[in-house]
Symmetry: C2
Subunit: 242 residues, 2 copies
Amino acid sequence: MNDRCEVRISDVPVLCAACQARQRGVCAALDAEQLSTLSRSSTKKRLDMGSELIGDATTVEGYANILSGVVKLVKGLPDGREQIVGLQFAPDFLGRPFQAESTVTAQAATNVVLCSFPRRSVDALINQSPQLKQGLLQQALRELDGARDWMLTLGRKNALEKVSSYLLLIASSVESAAKPQGQAVEFDLPMTRQEIADFLGLTIETVSRQLTRLRIDGVIRIVQARHIVVDNPARLKICSGA
Amino acid sequence: MNDRCEVRISDVPVLCAACQARQRGVCAALDAEQLSTLSRSSTKKRLDMGSELIGDATTVEGYANILSGVVKLVKGLPDGREQIVGLQFAPDFLGRPFQAESTVTAQAATNVVLCSFPRRSVDALINQSPQLKQGLLQQALRELDGARDWMLTLGRKNALEKVSSYLLLIASSVESAAKPQGQAVEFDLPMTRQEIADFLGLTIETVSRQLTRLRIDGVIRIVQARHIVVDNPARLKICSGA
DNA sequence: GCCTAAAATTGATCTGGATCAAATCGCCGG
DNA sequence: CCGGCGATTTGATCCAGATCAATTTTAGGC
């Protein structure tokens, strides 16, 4: 493991506290004592697939940076129906300032490594650094955009378009920015068919059928259930309802 | 029209600039010159139902407080399918800081009166007032929660549950906090059946059928297409999937 | 009040995705 | 290599909500 792991809150660079926490750039003005407090109180944690990241001793108290893995935000109905309302990928910052009255639960979708901070210390930092506050505001606005995009997908797209949209979303989270558009993209799905279904408002069977349909049409290859190659990103985009 | 109309950004009280703009409370620290600039540059605007609030001369340049009416945030697919991804009610603050790259369009769902501010002036205020920035962050987080709740509705509820959830949402936006739970609630729907359908990911016909079903079951009365009385809020809540 | 057009309801039918039910696949432990 | 179990795929049927097609209601304009 690296001894310094850079992660970002929006455009505010933050070095992972568990790996020698300190802040740079626009946050450089921060009190050295504050930073050392944050550093001392941070802990690196490994979570197995499926574990919940709330409240209990082995998990996250307040805030955390995701160092690797995927975290899903889940909402449920009393009868057991579930909907995944958000996904957080590798360098995202988790946790919300000013009380979490929301009823979402965060769960590790894959094995996850993260660096967690006590609520107290981070809240203090937020109040001292307008840039950090602004970074959090921008992250919130970006998540809001993402949620609204997904509302369109959930409310108005058919099964094929939903599955195609999902593949494009995952592909974009993997694809390096440098890579030219239109190239084949290869990746492992970070979720089971059930989780994909819960994300898309579908059933496992329908997800599976749409994937085979895309395979037969030559848009993707399913090397292994979890391992996908998108041979024709342009076609996939068309299938997603553009 | 009142000459001072109080509206709120989160817990930061702001007096509508068009009606003698100035700030109070936690924002009192603001520069008097800034405030007078904001006041001078603000304008009160009336929008007819259906008009879009972007870009053109008759509409909103940057930010605005809604004084009355309902604004809908709409996303569309190239083939014309539409999804309403958010509703903003009477004292909400509209507009997003730091560029709007998002593809939502805001439209007046009813006739709307609002007080609009030029982007420039408000951005300046935001940078000067951490409290205002925090207010905007909290508003963004609240909207994110709302969006996620709605994702559960869109992805996992059936038609009856969706329509019931919608009625409860509108009822709660009308109901005075003082009113005891369980009482009958009476209100006008601020949207057409088509808009309700676009909000719920359904068709007009299905919305209409679920409403008659609720009427026949004695949960609501439909005094007039747009005028609803919820006789049994508890039953309605059960119908909404709790 | 009467006329018109848009909005809403109601009815009849169709269909995409859910549901129920078996196969397969893939992986791990022995 | 052999079971065994969970994840996935595939097949057969069903049904909630879409679609198509009339009415009926409502809101303005004269």
